[in-house]
């Protein structure tokens, strides 16, 4: 299988400054990390809060620019054609409120479908409402949705344009246990169709259920990479050991 996503020597530093203050505080969110993901693979990025997981996904989805390094999608550099490559990515961000509160769920998805140039958008949206079991809420205003439903709508939005790569940022946090099972079925179908998935999470069960391989990230560095042992105990051990070392 070919690498669909390749990250090379990625570094991201933030400078907290302002127009008025001269002194700058430098924070390294990602420190020279490299990895690749194969087509149809499901990669977990596990790490504590502040490890750099969300920063990494934001850079892959081209809404944040890296300080150094390259991201290649299908062997094309993301920085050279972000608009084209963005249409290959679906990003479920951690903020489930990133919709228009005074539009219905259906109207929200319909709007975003136009931005992505989705063909036969009405059929696609109806199918998604069916699959995600919130068909009866499609004409309700977004601000009447529960947190779990908002999260479902975020996932639905990311699937609208049938992306090659799906990025999940703490995606199942507010999902109830019953629907968690449903997500497993949905993602398995997507995987069977060749969709590549990257899961950024601090929840080990998310990695256990959804991922083939795991990278543990801490303080912007990859501290461990595994393919064989994805058990809870083993992953906790790796994270704890690193914590003690530091």
């Amino acid at each position: 299988m070919n690498d669909i996503l390749k990250i090379e020597n990625l570094t991201k530093t933030f400078h907290t400054d302002s127009f008025l203050k001269k002194e700058k505080v430098k924070t390294t969110a990602l420190d020279n990390i490299s990895f690749s993901v194969k087509k149809g693979e499901s990669l977990g990025i596990l790490g504590p809060n502040g490890a750099g997981k969300s920063t990494l996904l934001r850079i892959i989805s081209a809404i944040l620019l890296p300080t150094k390094g390259h991201i290649n999608i299908n062997e094309k550099d993301l920085s050279e054609n972000p608009s084209l490559l963005k249409s290959k990515i679906g990003y479920i961000n951690s903020n489930q409120n990133s919709f228009f509160a005074r539009l219905t769920g259906y109207e929200n998805l319909s709007f975003f479908a136009v931005l992505y140039g989705v063909k036969e958008k009405d059929k696609k949206i109806n199918d998604l409402f069916e699959t995600f079991e919130i068909r009866d809420k499609r004409n309700s205003l977004f601000n009447t949705y529960s947190t779990g439903m908002k999260k479902r709508l975020s996932i639905m939005r990311a699937l609208l344009h049938t992306p090659d790569i799906l990025l999940f940022d703490e995606a199942t946090d507010s999902i109830d246990p019953l629907f968690f099972e449903k997500i497993k079925t949905i993602t398995k179908d997507l995987k069977d169709k060749g969709t590549t998935m990257v899961w950024a999470t601090h929840r080990i069960e998310e990695v256990e259920f959804f991922c083939d391989r795991v990278i543990i990230l801490d303080k912007g560095k990859i501290i461990y990479e595994t393919v064989s042992d994805l058990s809870r105990e083993s992953l906790i051990d790796k994270m704890k050991n690193n914590h003690i070392k530091n």
């Binding site: 990133s98 136009v114 140039g117």
Partner: protein, 269 residues
Amino acid sequence: MNTNILSVIKAFIIKDAKIEKRYHLHFLFQFLKILTTLTIYYFLSKLIIYKNTDYSIKSYFSFILIGISFFSILRVGLTAFTEELIRSINTGVLESLMMSPVPASLIILCSSIWKHIFNFFRIFMYFIIGIFLFNANIMMPDIFSLIVVIILSLIIFSSLGLISSSLVIFVKRSDPVNWILGQIFFIFGGVLFPVKILPAPLQVFSKMIPLTYALDSFRSIFLSGHNIVDFKKDVLILFIFACVLAPLSLFIFNRMIKKAKASGTLYQH
């Protein structure tokens, strides 16, 4: 998969119109606001004997009607982008919009279209109430001249708004900038009184402000029944302002977006 620019513009207009429709009392409040504003100016105008000979006008009220109704193009142009930008940063929608393949500048430009459409509806209401309730002396406009001046005004004032919204991206507040600009334009642009009555040194400010030329053009159209040939000097100055400000504002905005994407501050407020 291909994102069509016209479809994107249409989607933004439909989205904003639907949101507007859900604020049921907004139309009524706008109507009442216009009615009370015009009532106040109508009775104030009764106290003022206007001696301007530039326009063949019969009342000061008609002069003000053009001033305050078309000043709104400037106000909306200045504030539309910043309001939308701040709102979408606060709700987290900006991040979702930026994830799409649509360029950032197009997203921001599209987010103001509905506000301008709604503002033209407000200007229309100003005219209807002004003419039918307060007998304003308005002449039938030359449509071509009117469209040219409206388009140039939209480009100029939206460009200023785009520059102002670039400031929002970095300093996260542009209300003071908009307020100061708005006040300067209001005083020196000839909204409520002709700039000729200002002391000569202050008239220099008026000559540097595009609003002065825009309002002069609108008054020539509606109060004197002139067409574009009669006020070609004003149109030429507006055209130069538009040619300079439009590319400059897009350049500044795109630079600021790039810097904010690099610094990670684009989605924070």
